[in-house]
Amino acid sequence: MSGGPETLADKVGRLLTKVLRPGFGGDEPVIASEQTNAAGEALPSYGAAEPSREPVSLLEVDHGDGRMSRYPPPERWDDWVEWDAKAWPRKIPRRYSLVPTICFNCESACGLLAYVDKTTFEIRKFEGNPAHPGSRGRNCAKGPATHNQIYDPERILYPLKRVGARGEGKWKRVSWDEALDDIAAKMRQSRERRRDGIMYHVGRPGEDHYTNRCITAWGVDGHNSHTNICSSGARVGYALWTGCDRPSPDHANARVILLISSHLETGHYFNPHAQRIIEAKSAGAKIITLDPRLSNTAARSDLWLPSWPGSESVILLAIAAHLIRRRSYDREFMRRWVNWDQLLREGPGLPGMPDLPASAAGAEGELSFEDFEAYLERLYGEFTFEQAAEASQVPIERIEEAARLVEGAGSRLATHTWRSASIGNRGGWQVARCLFFLNVLTGSVGTPGGTSMNAWNKFVPKPFASPPAFEAWNELQLPHEWPLAFFEMSFLLPHFLAEGRGTVDVYFTRVYNPMWINPDGFMWLEALRDEDKLGLHVALTPTWNESAWFADYVLPMGHAGERHDLMSQETHAGQWIGFRQPVRRVALERAGRPVQFTHEANPGKVWEEAEFWVELSWRMDPDGSLGIREWFASPADPSRPITQDEYWAHVFEHSVPGLPEAAAAEELSPLAYMRKYGCFEVLRSNYTPYEAEGFATPSGKLELFSPTMRDWGWPEREHVIPWPLDSHVSPANIDRDRGQMLLLPNFRLPTLIHTRSANAKWLYEISHANPVWIHPSDAGRIGVQSGELVRVQTEIGYFVDKVYVTEGIKPGIIAMSHHLGRWRLASDMGGNPGMSALAQLDEDGEGGHALNILEHGRAWDSFDPDTARIWWQDVGVHQNLTHAVHPDPISGAHCWLQKALSVRKAGASDRHGDVHVDTRKSMAVYRQWHALTRSAVDHSPDGTRRPWWLKRPLKPTRAAYALPEEPFGR
């Protein structure tokens, strides 16, 4: 080429030459013309309606209650046209098939409505399902963010099998057939040898019976849950009173709402409860909140009681004593429904229990309700506002005001505690018991505006054909030392394995990340790597997580719109069921394109568990000789496995009262009705069902006095009746003069959900860091300002994090949110670079473990331009690794609150995110807590392991309840 200016021909020629270079690429068509499946590989695209199709108007209905008033009318859901909001100001009509499903992010089971594009079958968005009785068309931020999870650039699209050593991070893609055959063969081998070798460890089930039925059919004691790091404290408190283990407050109709912790914005049943709490507040209800942290709930409450953790019971009993002294409780309710006569007959004489008043027992030796009233006053007379104010460090006027409000609530007192004080403190189960005592005193049990129990407001239909109970007891799940635990001692699995209590042949982690979420994660690391103790580890998960990295198989399972499940929750005083559906599959089937397995419709080869379990169980017992296969056979053709349509058609036809009739009224089958609406309201309201059925306790009454506690080795006053127990982090146990503090590590953020939400870009943009909240007085003492680093020393190690100096936390307490601090071990795999930190693990071979952050969060390039827009680096610190295990000796709950032995300004060598732990100390702390237990071997009244009446997620035969012949450690 000459030195003159480039001619047009030269220039064009140069360009043409460049694009012809091999490797330039780009020969695929720019615009496809039909169905696509872009998730995980590209951004979705959408079709447009023909120009003539004008959008349909929204329905406008004034329901007069909290339901949504404007939404697409259900009769148009099959073919809904609306303007594309993103195209504004141009008017682009889009055609959608609206398919209802159920959110899979938290436990609330809110209804979602997927807008599935009718051309590409890509999901445009998720909105609320207006037909859903629990969520009533609304969602929290996490519901719509399901879209992020589905189109996450880092999602796992294919079954992966480990190659190389566990944790080495080498994987190969395998087919579902290969994975199924291999896993099924190992399950069969295990089942032929024993009944406790297969373990299904579930995070949030997100469904109500399906998998439990499968495990039962396998004939093994294999269900292991996350309950003991979540709600077991509260469950024990409620179960001892009522036999049911969850409260169901009727917030919407309450006069007073008493919440322990930040329940309005982050509690159990986030969105369904939040909307009803606000509905009540708008109608004049008063909200009282106990929380050491100024949460959004506390800020919106009429009365905030910033109590020292563990003192809640004292406040609650001071209020109870106020009602008792003034006889302002509901006498008739108490007389009818409390086991007061049992208390009077069997309570006095137990350790710490006062004698009956001299006036008790009339001429015939009959004990009267009046005797009970006098005894009650004697029992609780010592609780005063002054004492409560001192123990809780809350101004006395606030406690007096709370008592006045509770007293004025009548039978409309809605109360709730779930994961905060009840799971934070040793003896936290008594917090729930003391709280519910106020419901019992005010007669607000199962009343409009009062507090019901979950079993009354949750509807679980009978499964299709129920296999018989298994005769097995897995000692790794419910060992003899915790006969009253609710439920499996799941967070101690690595400690049990380390002690040599047993082994697991096939270990499923299902949407569960035990190494990250449990306390003492390095103990999990040691367990997960030990192939002798944990045989085959199969991680069923939609996304990468820290534990899956150490699995043998990583099997991609679907998000909310990619799976079948049936769910119900006690969101209010009614009953409903919600049907989670694979929305692309349903939309394809609506369009006349049949799908055999859900993974054909889902992205890549992402499957759903419901079909997976059927196929797996079928292959586990190919000839039916184990008696398993029969439970998975099609009712129409027993030679093949049952389909999802067959399964759910049976359930909806036979086990849901009213559904067949409602469906018939629309000329639909019950299954078609559920596919159309995604939910069904079984009962509009269900108040005071105990009038007909009594309570599910041994006495059929509300058990103020618990004979069960007495009979199983806990006869003292502080165990048999509602009573405060000394928390491991009570002021007496935290030596503030020596710089010790209380670490409150488990408050939630409304926009995240544990490790499930780390692939949701919208959510992470809102919240991505978990700094240490610290009061200005403590910050001043330590010499730190917001943004500076502190080193927090726990019982087993330390972590380094930034501080957030705020008056929103009590002096003496530091607080951290619970969900953040995700990490991965490979730069390009194992998690999103914008949501997790690249980390390095080191160990000294003697129990010393270190996690060091090599790179915090960062932007990265993918097909989604948003990943290049990540503007934050701090993705939080994984504090749980440094938490010692604290198994409550009764409930089995991990008592989350930690003693921070020191909190000091970070040193020159400390780096943000550093974690160090010595697992020898882990075992020492475990043994200290273990020593507090009272084993069934020593205390069982009848030679069994556990009271028969207490719940278990899966109940074995009665024979399996016999105490073990060779209990571990004896």
């Binding site: 030269d10 030459t17 330039f24 068509p29 615009i31 447009a48 682009i92």
Partner: protein
């Protein structure tokens, strides 16, 4: 020697190269730029080292969603409607068996991105031999649906300022011109709107004049918000907020009310003259002849109109300046 200069080069290979280039631009316009595409754009020198994904995404939005609207209909239709040339382009698409799945909001079939996808598709068909070298399809399409408005679009975008997208549009125009030169058949000129005696119509008010100016097929130019804002700023006049029509209407009304119409007319004339000059430059460089002439004629008529605005108030009308009753007095002749 480069490929285009090499007479021995197989026309099918050339067609493949065009197909790829059009596909790159189509993807960029329709989907935005991702990392892979950024590498391709850099290799082609269409973006500079400072142009990251973020800048390209914001500029894409600013250029084509707030600035100019890359639809044939916006430039060629008497109502300046996006999608108005849908039937025209669909006719070509159908002839080639191209059935674009409408991908996103921009996908009225006459969106430049879809047209580019079609051009990639047809060029590919030439490369594969599915279309023979004598097929007139691509040439006719380029004349009727691309070259018919692309020069005007390129000029309007360029006036939005320097940036990767105006640069890429310019590169595209060069490519299309070069490819058209290799294709058979005489060049066809676009047909824009016929001349209109707007000021002779008693119903004409300022709003009608603003609408005329905002219709490229009549005025010969695409006026962006930035153009209107610049006119207002340089004359110290308000233009308000809202649609371009509202802004231009405000600007004209303000000019009349405050006696600044002469200055505004001068500004408009300057703009029209500049656009005309740019067309001439393009023609000289790319030999676009028939594609340019109707646009220059339209601009010439619009300059006439702007000049005539000066005379208009002297005519015997109740209120020539607004279609609504006015309380203001028109400026003296």
């Amino acid at each position: 020697m480069t490929l285009a200069q090499d007479p021995s080069q197989d026309p099918r290979v050339l067609a493949l190269a065009y197909s790829r280039l059009y596909a790159v631009l189509a993807r960029a316009l329709l989907r935005g730029v991702d990392a892979r595409m950024l590498a391709q754009l850099r290799e082609l020198d269409w973006v500079g080292p400072g142009d990251g994904l973020e800048q390209l995404a914001t500029q894409l939005h600013a250029t084509f969603e707030l600035g100019v609207f890359p639809y044939a209909g916006v430039f060629l239709d008497p109502d300046a409607q996006a999608g108005a040339c849908a039937d025209r382009v669909r006719g070509f698409y159908a002839r080639a068996g191209f059935s674009p799945r409408p991908v996103n909001a921009e996908l009225a079939p006459d969106h430049l991105g879809v047209e580019l996808a079609f051009m990639a598709f047809v060029s590919r068909a030439h490369a594969d031999g599915r279309l023979g070298p004598s097929s007139p399809l691509l040439a006719e399409f380029l004349d009727a649906c691309v070259l018919a408005y692309l020069p005007s679009l390129v000029i309007a975008a360029r006036e939005l300022g320097e940036g990767a997208w105006p640069t890429m549009l310019n590169e595209l125009l060069e490519l299309v011109a070069a490819q058209r030169a290799t294709l058979p058949g005489p060049r066809a000129a676009p047909s824009l709107c016929p001349a209109q005696a707007l000021l002779d119509d008693a119903r004409t008010g300022l709003r009608e004049i603003a609408a005329y100016l905002l219709t490229p097929a009549r005025s010969g130019v695409f006026l962006t918000r930035a153009d209107i804002a610049a006119l207002a700023r340089s004359r110290g006049l308000a233009r308000g907020f809202g649609s371009r029509l509202t802004m231009l209407d405000n600007l004209l009304r303000g000019a009349v009310e405050y006696g600044e119409l002469d200055k505004l007319r001068a500004g408009l004339d300057e703009l029209l003259a500049r656009r005309d000059h740019r067309l001439v430059e393009l023609d000289q460089r790319l030999e676009l002849g028939p594609a340019i002439e109707p646009w220059r004629a339209a601009i010439a008529r619009t300059r006439e109109l702007v000049r005539a605005l000066h005379r208009a108030p002297s005519r015997d009308r109740a209120d020539p300046w607004t279609s609504k009753p006015s309380t203001t007095t028109p400026p003296a002749p």
